[in-house]
Protein backbone atom coordinates (compact mmCIF):
# COMPACT_ATOMS: atom_id res chain seq x y z
CA UNK A 1 0.00 0.00 0.00
CA UNK A 2 3.02 2.27 0.47
CA UNK A 3 3.29 2.80 -3.30
CA UNK A 4 -0.30 4.00 -3.39
CA UNK A 5 0.38 6.71 -0.83
CA UNK A 6 2.46 8.62 -3.35
CA UNK A 7 0.27 10.88 -5.44
CA UNK A 8 0.51 9.63 -9.03
CA UNK A 9 0.91 12.16 -11.82
CA UNK A 10 -2.02 10.72 -13.72
CA UNK A 11 -4.90 9.10 -11.88
CA UNK A 12 -5.67 5.44 -12.50
CA UNK A 13 -9.08 6.39 -13.88
CA UNK A 14 -7.54 8.48 -16.63
CA UNK A 15 -5.04 5.76 -17.51
CA UNK A 16 -7.84 3.20 -17.61
CA UNK A 17 -9.87 5.44 -19.92
CA UNK A 18 -6.93 5.84 -22.28
CA UNK A 19 -6.17 2.11 -22.19
CA UNK A 20 -9.83 1.37 -22.99
CA UNK A 21 -9.40 3.48 -26.10
CA UNK A 22 -6.48 1.29 -27.13
CA UNK A 23 -3.56 3.26 -25.68
CA UNK A 24 -1.10 0.52 -24.68
CA UNK A 25 1.32 3.06 -23.20
CA UNK A 26 -1.33 3.96 -20.62
CA UNK A 27 -1.78 0.31 -19.77
CA UNK A 28 2.00 -0.04 -19.49
CA UNK A 29 1.93 2.67 -16.82
CA UNK A 30 -0.73 0.68 -14.91
CA UNK A 31 1.47 -2.43 -15.19
CA UNK A 32 4.41 -0.50 -13.74
CA UNK A 33 2.27 0.70 -10.84
CA UNK A 34 0.81 -2.63 -9.78
CA UNK A 35 3.16 -5.30 -11.07
CA UNK A 36 5.17 -5.80 -7.89
CA UNK A 37 2.05 -6.01 -5.72
CA UNK A 38 0.37 -8.57 -7.94
CA UNK A 39 3.58 -10.56 -8.16
CA UNK A 40 3.91 -10.55 -4.35
CA UNK A 41 0.30 -11.65 -3.97
CA UNK A 42 0.68 -14.57 -6.36
CA UNK A 43 3.98 -15.59 -4.79
CA UNK A 44 2.45 -15.60 -1.33
CA UNK A 45 -0.52 -17.58 -2.58
CA UNK A 46 1.47 -20.16 -4.56
CA UNK A 47 4.82 -20.25 -2.73
CA UNK A 48 6.51 -20.63 -6.11
CA UNK A 49 8.43 -18.04 -8.07
CA UNK A 50 7.80 -19.61 -11.47
CA UNK A 51 4.08 -19.94 -10.82
CA UNK A 52 3.96 -16.37 -9.54
CA UNK A 53 5.67 -15.07 -12.69
CA UNK A 54 3.32 -16.98 -15.00
CA UNK A 55 0.25 -15.99 -13.02
CA UNK A 56 1.23 -12.32 -12.86
CA UNK A 57 1.57 -12.27 -16.62
CA UNK A 58 -1.77 -14.02 -17.11
CA UNK A 59 -3.50 -11.64 -14.69
CA UNK A 60 -2.35 -8.51 -16.50
CA UNK A 61 -3.17 -9.91 -19.94
CA UNK A 62 -6.60 -10.99 -18.68
CA UNK A 63 -7.11 -7.51 -17.22
CA UNK A 64 -6.24 -5.92 -20.56
CA UNK A 65 -8.65 -8.23 -22.39
CA UNK A 66 -11.43 -7.48 -19.90
CA UNK A 67 -10.71 -3.74 -19.74
CA UNK A 68 -13.44 -2.75 -22.24
CA UNK A 69 -15.98 -4.26 -19.81
CA UNK A 70 -14.58 -2.42 -16.78
CA UNK A 71 -17.21 0.15 -15.77
CA UNK A 72 -15.26 1.83 -13.00
CA UNK A 73 -17.68 0.91 -10.20
CA UNK A 74 -14.68 -0.02 -8.07
CA UNK A 75 -11.12 1.25 -8.26
CA UNK A 76 -8.87 -0.29 -10.90
CA UNK A 77 -6.66 -1.66 -8.13
CA UNK A 78 -9.57 -3.49 -6.45
CA UNK A 79 -10.74 -4.85 -9.80
CA UNK A 80 -7.24 -6.01 -10.73
CA UNK A 81 -6.80 -7.63 -7.34
CA UNK A 82 -10.09 -9.50 -7.79
CA UNK A 83 -8.89 -10.90 -11.10
CA UNK A 84 -5.62 -11.85 -9.40
CA UNK A 85 -7.29 -13.64 -6.50
CA UNK A 86 -9.71 -15.53 -8.75
CA UNK A 87 -7.03 -16.61 -11.18
CA UNK A 88 -4.67 -17.71 -8.41
CA UNK A 89 -7.35 -19.67 -6.57
CA UNK A 90 -8.38 -21.42 -9.80
CA UNK A 91 -4.77 -22.20 -10.53
CA UNK A 92 -4.22 -23.68 -7.07
CA UNK A 93 -7.34 -25.79 -7.41
CA UNK A 94 -6.06 -27.18 -10.70
CA UNK A 95 -2.57 -27.75 -9.45
CA UNK A 96 -3.63 -30.59 -7.13
CA UNK A 97 -0.30 -30.84 -5.60
CA UNK A 98 1.50 -28.90 -2.91
CA UNK A 99 4.73 -27.39 -3.98
CA UNK A 100 6.11 -25.47 -1.02
CA UNK A 101 8.83 -22.95 -1.64
CA UNK A 102 12.38 -24.25 -1.38
CA UNK A 103 13.39 -24.17 2.26
CA UNK A 104 16.95 -23.18 1.42
CA UNK A 105 15.75 -20.20 -0.56
CA UNK A 106 13.33 -19.17 2.18
CA UNK A 107 15.95 -19.39 4.90
CA UNK A 108 18.29 -17.23 2.92
CA UNK A 109 15.55 -14.68 2.34
CA UNK A 110 14.18 -14.45 5.83
CA UNK A 111 17.37 -14.62 7.89
CA UNK A 112 18.44 -11.47 6.13
CA UNK A 113 15.52 -9.68 7.77
CA UNK A 114 16.45 -7.84 10.93
CA UNK A 115 12.86 -8.11 12.11
CA UNK A 116 13.04 -11.84 12.35
CA UNK A 117 16.10 -11.67 14.58
CA UNK A 118 14.38 -9.18 16.86
CA UNK A 119 11.33 -11.41 16.89
CA UNK A 120 13.38 -14.42 17.89
CA UNK A 121 15.15 -12.57 20.68
CA UNK A 122 12.11 -11.30 22.56
CA UNK A 123 11.81 -14.28 24.81
CA UNK A 124 9.35 -16.02 22.50
CA UNK A 125 9.39 -19.78 22.02
CA UNK A 126 10.83 -19.09 18.56
CA UNK A 127 14.32 -18.72 19.94
CA UNK A 128 14.67 -22.44 20.46
CA UNK A 129 13.32 -23.46 17.07
CA UNK A 130 15.30 -23.86 13.89
CA UNK A 131 14.19 -21.21 11.42
CA UNK A 132 13.91 -23.66 8.56
CA UNK A 133 11.77 -25.97 10.62
CA UNK A 134 9.44 -23.17 11.64
CA UNK A 135 9.06 -21.90 8.10
CA UNK A 136 8.39 -25.37 6.81
CA UNK A 137 5.76 -25.87 9.47
CA UNK A 138 4.14 -22.52 8.76
CA UNK A 139 4.13 -23.24 5.06
CA UNK A 140 2.48 -26.61 5.65
CA UNK A 141 -0.07 -25.01 7.94
CA UNK A 142 -0.87 -22.38 5.29
CA UNK A 143 -1.30 -25.10 2.68
CA UNK A 144 -3.77 -26.77 5.01
CA UNK A 145 -6.09 -23.74 5.00
CA UNK A 146 -9.00 -23.58 2.59
CA UNK A 147 -8.63 -21.16 -0.33
CA UNK A 148 -10.93 -18.54 1.18
CA UNK A 149 -9.14 -18.59 4.53
CA UNK A 150 -5.72 -18.59 2.96
CA UNK A 151 -6.69 -15.65 0.76
CA UNK A 152 -7.72 -13.55 3.75
CA UNK A 153 -4.55 -14.41 5.70
CA UNK A 154 -2.32 -13.56 2.74
CA UNK A 155 -4.12 -10.29 2.05
CA UNK A 156 -4.36 -9.11 5.64
CA UNK A 157 -1.47 -10.61 7.57
CA UNK A 158 1.09 -10.78 4.78
CA UNK A 159 0.15 -7.83 2.59
CA UNK A 160 -1.34 -5.57 5.26
CA UNK A 161 -4.52 -4.80 3.32
CA UNK A 162 -7.33 -3.48 5.57
CA UNK A 163 -10.50 -5.49 6.18
CA UNK A 164 -12.81 -3.24 4.17
CA UNK A 165 -10.55 -3.39 1.12
CA UNK A 166 -10.37 -7.19 1.35
CA UNK A 167 -14.15 -7.29 1.62
CA UNK A 168 -14.46 -5.36 -1.65
CA UNK A 169 -11.97 -7.56 -3.47
CA UNK A 170 -13.36 -10.87 -2.24
CA UNK A 171 -16.98 -9.73 -2.47
CA UNK A 172 -18.06 -10.50 1.11
CA UNK A 173 -18.93 -8.38 4.13
CA UNK A 174 -16.31 -6.97 6.49
CA UNK A 175 -17.74 -9.23 9.21
CA UNK A 176 -17.12 -12.28 7.06
CA UNK A 177 -13.53 -11.18 6.45
CA UNK A 178 -12.96 -10.81 10.22
CA UNK A 179 -14.59 -14.16 10.87
CA UNK A 180 -12.45 -15.92 8.25
CA UNK A 181 -9.32 -14.30 9.61
CA UNK A 182 -10.16 -15.35 13.15
CA UNK A 183 -10.84 -18.94 12.08
CA UNK A 184 -7.70 -19.11 9.92
CA UNK A 185 -5.44 -17.79 12.68
CA UNK A 186 -6.92 -20.23 15.15
CA UNK A 187 -6.28 -23.09 12.75
CA UNK A 188 -2.70 -21.91 12.17
CA UNK A 189 -2.12 -21.69 15.91
CA UNK A 190 -3.43 -25.21 16.33
CA UNK A 191 -1.13 -26.46 13.58
CA UNK A 192 1.87 -24.59 15.01
CA UNK A 193 0.95 -25.43 18.60
CA UNK A 194 4.41 -26.66 19.54
CA UNK A 195 6.16 -23.66 18.02
CA UNK A 196 4.05 -20.54 18.50
Amino acid sequence: MAEEDQEPEIEDQELVRLAQEGDTAAFSELVDRYHSRIYTLTFQMTSSREDAEDLTQEIFVKAFEALPRFKGRSSFYTWLYRIGINKTINYRKKRNRNRPVSLDAMEQEVTSEENYHSLSSKGSPLRNVSLGELQKKLNEAMEGLSEKHRTVVVMHDMQGIPHDEIAKVVGVSVGTVRSRLFYARRQLQTELGDYV
Binding site: G22, T24, F27, S28, V31, D32, H35, S36, Y39, T40, F43, Q44, E53, T56, Q57, F60, V61, F64, E65, E109, V110, S112, E113, N115, Y116, L119, K122, G123, S124, L126, L134, Q135, L138, N139, V153, V154, D157, M158, Q159, G160, R185, L188, Q189, L192, V196
Partner: protein
Protein backbone atom coordinates in the same frame (compact mmCIF):
# COMPACT_ATOMS: atom_id res chain seq x y z
CA UNK B 1 4.13 -11.82 23.75
CA UNK B 2 0.65 -13.02 22.85
CA UNK B 3 0.55 -16.09 20.64
CA UNK B 4 -1.64 -14.39 18.06
CA UNK B 5 0.64 -11.37 17.80
CA UNK B 6 3.60 -13.66 17.38
CA UNK B 7 1.82 -15.56 14.63
CA UNK B 8 0.89 -12.33 12.82
CA UNK B 9 4.48 -11.08 12.99
CA UNK B 10 5.73 -14.39 11.73
CA UNK B 11 3.30 -14.28 8.83
CA UNK B 12 4.36 -10.74 7.98
CA UNK B 13 7.99 -11.80 7.90
CA UNK B 14 7.12 -14.87 5.84
CA UNK B 15 5.26 -12.63 3.42
CA UNK B 16 8.25 -10.47 2.59
CA UNK B 17 9.23 -11.21 -0.97
CA UNK B 18 12.56 -9.83 -2.13
CA UNK B 19 12.14 -8.52 -5.67
CA UNK B 20 14.90 -8.56 -8.24
CA UNK B 21 14.43 -5.25 -10.06
CA UNK B 22 16.08 -6.51 -13.24
CA UNK B 23 13.85 -9.58 -13.26
CA UNK B 24 10.78 -7.43 -12.62
CA UNK B 25 11.64 -5.18 -15.55
CA UNK B 26 11.97 -8.18 -17.87
CA UNK B 27 8.63 -9.48 -16.69
CA UNK B 28 6.90 -6.18 -17.28
CA UNK B 29 8.35 -6.13 -20.80
CA UNK B 30 7.06 -9.67 -21.40
CA UNK B 31 3.59 -8.64 -20.19
CA UNK B 32 3.52 -5.65 -22.52
CA UNK B 33 4.58 -7.83 -25.47
CA UNK B 34 1.58 -10.04 -24.86
CA UNK B 35 -0.69 -7.04 -24.37
CA UNK B 36 0.40 -5.60 -27.72
CA UNK B 37 -0.23 -8.96 -29.36
CA UNK B 38 -3.76 -8.93 -27.94
CA UNK B 39 -4.24 -5.37 -29.15
CA UNK B 40 -3.05 -6.29 -32.66
CA UNK B 41 -5.40 -9.25 -32.76
CA UNK B 42 -8.26 -7.04 -31.62
CA UNK B 43 -7.73 -4.58 -34.42
CA UNK B 44 -7.50 -7.25 -37.14
CA UNK B 45 -10.33 -6.80 -39.63
CA UNK B 46 -13.51 -8.83 -39.33
CA UNK B 47 -13.06 -10.20 -42.82
CA UNK B 48 -9.66 -11.66 -41.98
CA UNK B 49 -10.95 -13.17 -38.78
CA UNK B 50 -14.02 -14.59 -40.50
CA UNK B 51 -11.83 -16.19 -43.16
CA UNK B 52 -9.61 -17.70 -40.48
CA UNK B 53 -12.61 -19.04 -38.61
CA UNK B 54 -14.14 -20.51 -41.74
CA UNK B 55 -10.86 -22.23 -42.54
CA UNK B 56 -10.79 -23.74 -39.08
CA UNK B 57 -14.37 -24.93 -39.46
CA UNK B 58 -13.64 -26.64 -42.71
CA UNK B 59 -10.54 -28.25 -41.22
CA UNK B 60 -12.46 -29.37 -38.18
CA UNK B 61 -15.94 -30.53 -39.27
CA UNK B 62 -16.70 -31.63 -35.74
CA UNK B 63 -17.20 -27.97 -34.79
CA UNK B 64 -19.69 -27.54 -37.62
CA UNK B 65 -21.57 -30.65 -36.57
CA UNK B 66 -21.54 -29.49 -32.98
CA UNK B 67 -23.01 -26.14 -34.03
CA UNK B 68 -25.67 -27.85 -36.15
CA UNK B 69 -26.60 -30.03 -33.21
CA UNK B 70 -26.77 -26.97 -31.01
CA UNK B 71 -29.02 -25.13 -33.45
CA UNK B 72 -31.36 -28.13 -33.71
CA UNK B 73 -31.46 -28.45 -29.94
CA UNK B 74 -32.33 -24.75 -29.65
CA UNK B 75 -35.08 -25.07 -32.24
CA UNK B 76 -36.45 -28.06 -30.35
CA UNK B 77 -36.31 -26.21 -27.07
CA UNK B 78 -37.96 -23.10 -28.48
CA UNK B 79 -40.82 -25.25 -29.82
CA UNK B 80 -41.25 -26.93 -26.45
CA UNK B 81 -41.55 -23.66 -24.61
CA UNK B 82 -43.86 -21.94 -27.07
CA UNK B 83 -47.53 -21.38 -26.04
CA UNK B 84 -49.90 -24.16 -27.09
CA UNK B 85 -51.96 -21.90 -29.32
CA UNK B 86 -48.95 -21.33 -31.50
CA UNK B 87 -48.37 -25.03 -31.98
CA UNK B 88 -51.75 -25.65 -33.73
CA UNK B 89 -51.93 -25.94 -37.54
CA UNK B 90 -54.06 -23.18 -38.96
CA UNK B 91 -56.12 -24.05 -42.02
CA UNK B 92 -58.28 -21.53 -43.85
CA UNK B 93 -61.40 -23.39 -45.03
CA UNK B 94 -63.08 -20.42 -46.71
CA UNK B 95 -61.26 -20.95 -49.94
CA UNK B 96 -60.16 -18.21 -52.26
CA UNK B 97 -62.17 -15.06 -52.36
CA UNK B 98 -64.62 -14.88 -55.31
CA UNK B 99 -65.19 -11.68 -57.12
CA UNK B 100 -68.85 -10.66 -57.39
CA UNK B 101 -70.27 -10.98 -60.91
CA UNK B 102 -71.04 -7.73 -62.51
CA UNK B 103 -74.68 -7.93 -63.70
CA UNK B 104 -74.63 -4.84 -65.79
CA UNK B 105 -75.74 -5.54 -69.37
CA UNK B 106 -77.35 -8.91 -68.54
CA UNK B 107 -81.01 -9.50 -69.42
CA UNK B 108 -83.19 -9.84 -66.39
CA UNK B 109 -85.37 -12.92 -66.26
CA UNK B 110 -89.03 -12.03 -66.84
CA UNK B 111 -91.33 -12.28 -63.88
CA UNK B 112 -93.63 -15.26 -64.38
CA UNK B 113 -97.11 -15.53 -62.93
CA UNK B 114 -97.31 -17.79 -59.91
CA UNK B 115 -99.92 -20.05 -61.45
CA UNK B 116 -97.85 -20.84 -64.55
CA UNK B 117 -97.70 -24.61 -65.04
CA UNK B 118 -94.17 -25.85 -65.71
CA UNK B 119 -95.15 -29.51 -66.19
CA UNK B 120 -98.03 -31.06 -67.90
CA UNK B 121 -100.47 -32.77 -65.53
CA UNK B 122 -99.79 -36.45 -64.81
CA UNK B 123 -101.25 -38.77 -67.27
CA UNK B 124 -100.49 -41.98 -65.36
CA UNK B 125 -103.06 -43.73 -63.27
CA UNK B 126 -101.03 -43.68 -60.03
CA UNK B 127 -100.62 -39.88 -59.77
CA UNK B 128 -96.91 -39.88 -60.85
CA UNK B 129 -95.77 -36.60 -62.23
CA UNK B 130 -94.19 -37.24 -65.57
CA UNK B 131 -92.13 -34.83 -67.65
CA UNK B 132 -94.10 -33.11 -70.28
CA UNK B 133 -92.24 -34.73 -73.21
CA UNK B 134 -92.64 -38.26 -71.76
CA UNK B 135 -95.11 -40.16 -73.81
CA UNK B 136 -97.18 -42.56 -71.82
CA UNK B 137 -98.22 -45.73 -73.50
Amino acid sequence: MQREELLVQLLREQGRVPLDEQQMRLQRAAIMRQVRAVQAERSASWAVRLRERLGAWVAEPKYGLALLFLVLALVQLSGRHAPESEQAVYVDVRGPAVEPIEDEGLDAYPDLPENLRLFTPPTGGDGTVMPAEFEFK
